[in-house]
């Protein structure tokens, strides 16, 4: 099981749609900035492969400009 966080930079005006799409993924908790086109994304996945897959899906979402990994920790069960 792993927990990661990302700083997600959205395209101008796309923050809310990005938030909705990320929030729809069960592995994601998302908090949008109230002042900038930024979102905090915290993910919880079962393996490194799952995490990589999730990241690829998130990065490919419409409105996502880029994502920066800010935290990664593997937890033993």
């Amino acid at each position: 099981m792993g927990i990661c966080s990302y700083l997600v930079i959205s395209e101008p005006g796309a923050k809310e749609s990005v938030r909705q799409r990320l929030a729809a993924m069960p592995e994601c908790e998302v908090v949008p900035s109230t002042s900038h086109d930024l979102l905090v994304l915290v993910t919880e996945t079962g393996s490194r492969t799952e995490e990589r897959s999730l990241r690829e899906r998130a990065e490919s979402l419409a409105g996502v400009h880029s994502m920066v990994l800010t935290f990664a920790e593997v937890l033993s069960q």
Partner: protein
């Protein structure tokens, strides 16, 4: 911790890391309550407090678990910092838990300090104080406090010494950091404290920083300025400084001036405004009076008494004639600032379409003409009418968390009372009425200001000195002189502190103090904002709050009736008594119940409204709207003063024997003398020791490379220190910079105790030294 708890904890850490990255990427970014909910949790209880370090007063939330403070985050509800904190603030709670924390009282026995029960130490302090007064008179005892005091501590100290003991020998280390701001404001406006607030940073079009390295010393406010510029790209930041710093690199223009020549530069700006016919005559005619003062007032090197302001009336024409000496070309030769740049600065100040804020701190205040330097910045704003309105005004920044609240506002200074001065019979009568003492007990003569106090200790005029919440054996200038004074036979030094310091080393009694959130308290920040914090954790061992230490001693001296408050409610009781001093529209303060629930309230606080811009009749309840848009009610005629203050040289300038200017100051990671921040492992590792910044060309001529050991020598002392080239700051040729946080490298052995004779504030920014190469880093 269970797996489920650990999982939640890691998610909080993950969210916090992303938020911190966002803050680093985009200063001022906000996330609102959703992030608070995500980061919060895990059973941590979060309580609000102002930060313990500088005078900005950032709002923090402290996370508590099992009786310990375990986490910090910025308080999004804080109007000061809006969820941000600097690296010191984020690590601040670790300062509570250093391994060498003082937990027991210590009493000197020969060369050693030995542990004694707190009650016995307090008995000894009270007995020695009483015996000293009996043997040498009431003015043989003194209190040296601090802007690190809480407001109740500053108030109790003032009442104890002025109201109970009858001596005005109480002063504070705020004298070293902010006194010129106080005397400058009083001479220009008749009242202390800034007229504007940090909200000005959100409205200004131009920021002029007068010798303030805000990127390192006020990073949260600097972030707020950068955010303003990011939102409005036409906003400009101008750094006027004596060396290039991180602030210079982030500014739009950085202009270097020769030390002391800021006085001339300010006058040259006004010269240009007048010469171009850009004076706001309507404002000046209605709201300004011109004054001329004494000149050639010395540097306090021999005289202890401060110079009182002589005030002679002058006219606008007199002012124009006075400014004739300060043409931009002439000032260019003195300051090194090009005439064209002076004219450009003047054009920014004078342009009616631009809102301009001037900011300064110790660069202006730690100055042998610090009070004048403050007047001269005010002059520019008064001449252009850009003052006391959103985005327009002078804003003096403060170094200590409660220099304004616990010292300047409560009158914990040699000349002051909580309202007014000891010299004024009405003010003495008023204070005596609240304190329940005969007014004759309050002496009309000012006591010793900070440096004068240590000189009196040297002479033996003061025999008993109680130092609280400050570290003079690191921070006083010309340190070896005053350390010798403290060690003289027949002197009794009491030191209340939280860690061993060079000051506790010379003490006869050390009282372990509670720190910050280990007691309930209030701080007053640099924008007239009072902030309350609860006791959140227990103080270790027998450590006791400074306020309660003084109450215990007062009671042992027989003054129970003046300090009758129960321990569990003494902060509330003191607040109720203290605020009676300010119960009027110009300074009314909020009730404690409001302060408990809000992230600070700015005074004057009248009818539920904070005052953001004093003297502005649209905002300030004390200003008379009948006077028009502004009313400078601190002066009897309702007008602010433009002072004719000349350039006068520094008392000590580089020469062939000592060819470098030495300037001291702060760095991002450490605060003041480093007592707290050096106990925080992350900060200590990031900046483990002091260093000297040397200009590349000078270093080459001296044969010094980065990392070499050099000896710095002044007329007063010497130290060996590591040289840094191309470090954080870049001094110009002939100029050195050394931070003062490192008690193992006491740079104040070298500095001079020359000070502003009006404010008593020493000049730590200018003395003459030479550099001697000692050894190459590699051992050559």
């Amino acid at each position: 911790m269970s797996v489920a708890d650990r999982r939640e904890f890691m998610k909080q850490a993950a969210a916090g890391a992303a938020a911190a990255a966002a803050a680093a990427l985009t200063p001022g970014v906000a996330f609102g309550q959703d992030l608070t909910r995500l980061i919060g949790g895990l059973g941590l209880e979060w309580k609000k407090t102002p930060c313990r370090f500088c005078g900005v007063g950032c709002g923090l939330l402290v996370g508590l678990e099992g009786g310990r403070a375990v986490a910090v985050r910025g308080d999004p509800a804080s109007p000061v910092s809006r969820g941000l904190a600097c690296v010191k603030g984020y690590h601040s709670v670790q300062a509570l838990y250093g391994r060498d924390r003082l937990t027991r009282a210590l009493v000197r026995q020969g060369d050693r300090l030995v542990q004694v029960p707190m009650e016995r130490a307090l008995d000894l302090v009270a007995r020695t104080l009483r015996e000293t007064v009996e043997a040498h008179g009431k003015d043989s005892v003194a209190m040296y406090g601090s802007g690190q005091w809480t407001i109740p501590a500053g108030y109790v100290a003032t009442k104890l010494f002025k109201g109970a003991l009858g001596t005005n020998n109480i002063d504070a280390s705020a004298r070293l950091y902010t006194a010129s701001a106080m005397t400058g404001a009083i001479s220009s406006f008749g009242l202390d404290q800034p007229m504007g607030c940090y909200e000005d940073l959100d409205h200004a079009d131009v920021f002029v920083l007068w010798g303030a390295n805000m990127a390192e010393t006020y990073p949260v406010l600097f972030s707020r300025m950068l955010e303003r510029r990011q939102r409005s790209p036409s906003v400009r930041i101008v750094d006027l400084a004596t060396r290039s710093t991180r602030t210079s690199y982030a500014s739009d223009r950085a202009l270097l001036f020769a030390p002391q020549s800021d006085l001339a530069v300010a006058n040259a700006i006004c010269h240009e405004i007048v010469a171009r016919g850009r004076v706001n005559r309507s404002f000046v005619d209605r709201h300004v009076a011109f004054r001329r003062g004494s000149t050639g007032i010395g540097y306090g090197l021999r005289d202890d008494a401060l110079v009182s302001e002589d005030e002679a009336e002058a006219s606008f024409d007199d002012y124009v004639r006075f400014l004739a000496d300060y043409s931009p070309e002439r000032v260019e030769r003195l300051s090194g600032v090009q005439a064209a740049d002076i004219r450009w600065l003047a054009s920014l100040y004078a342009d009616p379409s631009l809102r301009v804020v001037s900011l300064w701190s110790t660069g202006i205040n730690q100055h042998t003409r610090g009070s004048w330097a403050n007047n001269l910045i005010y002059n520019i704003h008064l001449l252009t009418g850009k003052i006391a309105s959103p985005g327009n005004g002078p804003l003096s920044l403060t170094d200590q968390p409660s220099a304004c609240g616990a010292v300047r506002e409560v009158g914990a200074l040699a000349h002051a009372l909580p309202r007014g001065t000891v010299a004024d019979p009405e003010d003495r009568e008023f204070a005596a009425g609240i304190w329940g003492v005969p007014s004759s007990r309050i002496d009309s003569r000012p006591g010793h200001h900070a440096l004068s106090m240590f000189r009196a200790l040297e002479r033996g005029d003061i025999r008993f000195l109680w130092v609280q919440a400050t570290n003079p054996m690191v921070t006083l200038p010309d340190l070896s002189r005053y350390r010798a004074a403290a060690r003289k036979e027949g002197r009794f030094l009491v030191v209340s502190d939280v860690y061993p310091t060079p000051t506790t080393e010379v003490a006869d009694v050390v009282l372990p103090s509670a720190l910050w959130i280990e007691e309930e308290g209030l701080f007053g920040n640099g924008e007239r904002r009072t902030q309350h914090f609860q006791q959140m954790v227990d103080a270790p061992g027998e450590a006791m709050g400074d306020t309660w230490q003084m109450i215990e001693v007062a009671r042992r001296l027989g003054h129970q009736e003046l300090f009758p408050w129960p321990r569990e409610s003494h902060v509330a009781d003191i607040w109720a008594e203290y605020t009676r001093f300010h119960d009027g529209p110009s300074h009314r303060m909020a009730l404690l119940s409001e302060l408990e629930s809000r992230p600070g309230v700015m005074w004057p606080y009248v009818d539920g409204r904070e005052t953001r811009w004093r003297y502005n009749t649209a905002h300030d309840p004390a200003a008379d709207a009948g006077r028009g848009d502004f009313h400078f009610y601190g002066n009897p005629d309702g007008r602010a003063r433009i002072w004719l203050r000349p350039f006068e040289p520094a008392p000590e300038v580089p020469d062939t024997e000592f060819p470098f200017w030495l300037e001291t100051g702060r760095v991002l990671e450490h605060w003041s003398s480093g007592v707290l921040t050096r106990r925080i492992p992350t900060l200590h590792r990031a900046m483990p020791g002091a260093y000297v910044e040397i200009n590349d060309h000078d270093a080459r001529e001296l044969g010094v490379q980065d990392g070499d050991r050099v000896r710095l020598v002044s007329r007063r002392g010497s130290i060996q220190i590591t040289a840094r080239l191309d470090h954080r700051g870049q001094p110009p040729r002939g100029h050195l910079f050394v931070p003062f946080f490192d008690e193992s490298l006491l740079i104040n052995e070298l500095t001079s105790d020359a000070h502003c004779p009006v404010s008593g504030q020493p000049d730590y920014k200018k003395c003459a030294v030479r550099v001697e190469r000692v050894a190459r880093m590699t051992g050559t």
